[in-house]
Amino acid sequence: MTTELTINGRNRQIDVEPRTTLLDALRDDLGLKGTKAGCEHGVCGACTVIVDGEAVRSCLMLAVQCDGLDITTIEGVSPADGEMDIIQDSFCETHGLQCGYCTSGMILAARALLARDKNPTDETIREAISGNICRCTGYTQIIEAIRLAAKRLRESNLVLAEAGE
């Protein structure tokens, strides 16, 4: 089936079987390997992307369901080639990652949170990443990273796109 997606601001047309998940379409049809395949049944959160402003699991959406929707992957967050955005930078500085497998999902979950809540409490941060599993860090530095990113975003001129509805 032919499906049109807006990915990181660019219009892309793909031809996929109905059973192809958004995750597989991103990685295999569009070559965007930054979105990680973990459990592939909605438990781990490694494949989190932003669809119409909300963090969702790309392994639990069929690519054909996303026809016409606006999708942001980890490749779409950096301001320019070779640069990192504020949230990515904060993860590096606070050592919010070790192996890196959960990181793109964590960063996009954080991005969806910070788009709607400029000043989240630690409790809100925990809730936002409660669906993302990390087996390295013990989460403490990830929470620290998101707290730091929130502070830096408040002090910057950047506005993250919020969910439509």
Binding site: M1, E17, P18, R19, T21, D24, C39, E40, H41, G42, G45, T48, V51, E54, A55, V56, R57, C59, L60, M61, L62, V64, Q65, D67, A109, A112, L113, R126, E127, A128, S130, G131, E165
Partner: protein, 290 residues
């Protein structure tokens, strides 16, 4: 972890969706997909066709009518969670919703999908059972309604009619007066499948005594159950009143043993959570009366 092949349809009206479903007995409804897609990936479900109802506007509204609050089957859980109408008129459902999955699954998961799947630990199903919401199906040109107690018959087994489309739920409006609700559950991780869950709603008389009390328990057995807690009516809802009524009401509660928790543990947890939920409901109702 890849699904078997199926075809895909995205009908533009409820009638078209019903037609597609009744034409092919192996067709399944795709709503948020947060449970169905994992089942497809694990090949526990192998439908011939998926009928995507997520863009049917007729199923995406939350409206107040004379009968109650109608929630369309394709209303997303995240959307219901921020609905002022649900917060005001169906406070028990509003209290249950934060416990449903995680933000990313609530962003796609729907109210109807949770009901249609019939998982005994589903919070939305428990709220519907406690409040005796009406579960509405469209089968060809007919409308069929089910009470939760008859609809849920076993773990993920329901009375859903063949070829039918779940169009929505009708929750009764919250009664007038000082009303409070409570919802508690315990799981191994936040928002994971609960081992036990309890929801309660309490309404007070003007003198502060109990006029009405509702209680339900989920996750412990094959289906969510509403429990008769009418012993509370007329009491001042003290800690002793709650404890006594809960102990009596849950004596015969059927609990299952599985890999995650024993029946004994589930029974103990359900009792404790029921007391907490009723206490929360009492405190909220007392606050509303003050």
């Amino acid at each position: 972890m890849k699904a078997a092949s199926f075809s895909y349809q995205r009908p533009s009206t409820v009638a078209e969706a019903c037609e597609a479903l009744s034409a092919d007995p192996e067709a399944r409804v795709l709503a948020g997909g947060q449970t169905l897609v994992p089942m497809l990936a694990m090949r526990l479900s192998r439908p011939s066709m998926l009928v995507d109802v997520t863009r049917l506007d007729a199923l995406k509204t939350i409206t107040a009518t004379d009968d109650g609050i109608e929630i369309g089957a394709a209303v997303r859980q995240a959307q219901a969670l921020v609905s002022d109408l649900i917060a005001r008129e169906v406070p028990l459902l509003a209290a249950a919703l934060p416990n449903v999955g995680h933000p990313p699954t609530r962003a796609r998961g729907t109210i109807g999908g949770s009901i249609a799947h019939g998982d005994p630990s589903a919070e939305i199903a428990l709220a519907a059972t406690i409040l005796d919401a009406s579960i509405v199906f469209q089968v060809d040109d007919e409308t069929e309604e089910f009470a939760p107690e008859e609809f849920f018959i076993g773990p993920t087994v329901t009375m859903a009619p063949m070829g039918g489309l779940l169009t929505g739920l009708v929750f009764p409006k919250r009664p007038d007066g000082a009303v409070g609700v409570g919802f508690r559950e315990i799981a191994s991780r936040r928002s994971d499948y609960a081992f036990a869950s309890a929801g309660a709603q309490v309404r007070l008389n003007d003198d502060g005594s109990c006029a009405e009390a509702l209680l339900g328990i989920g996750s412990v057995g094959d289906v969510p159950v509403a429990v008769d807690i009418s012993d509370m009516i007329g009491t001042r809802i003290t800690a002793a009143d709650i404890k006594g009524a809960v102990d009596a009401a849950l004596t015969d509660l059927e609990c299952v043993d599985d890999l995650h928790a024993t029946a004994t543990y589930r029974h103990r947890a359900a009792t404790r959570l029921a007391v907490q939920a009723l206490t929360d409901a009492r405190d909220q109702a007392t606050g509303a009366a003050a």
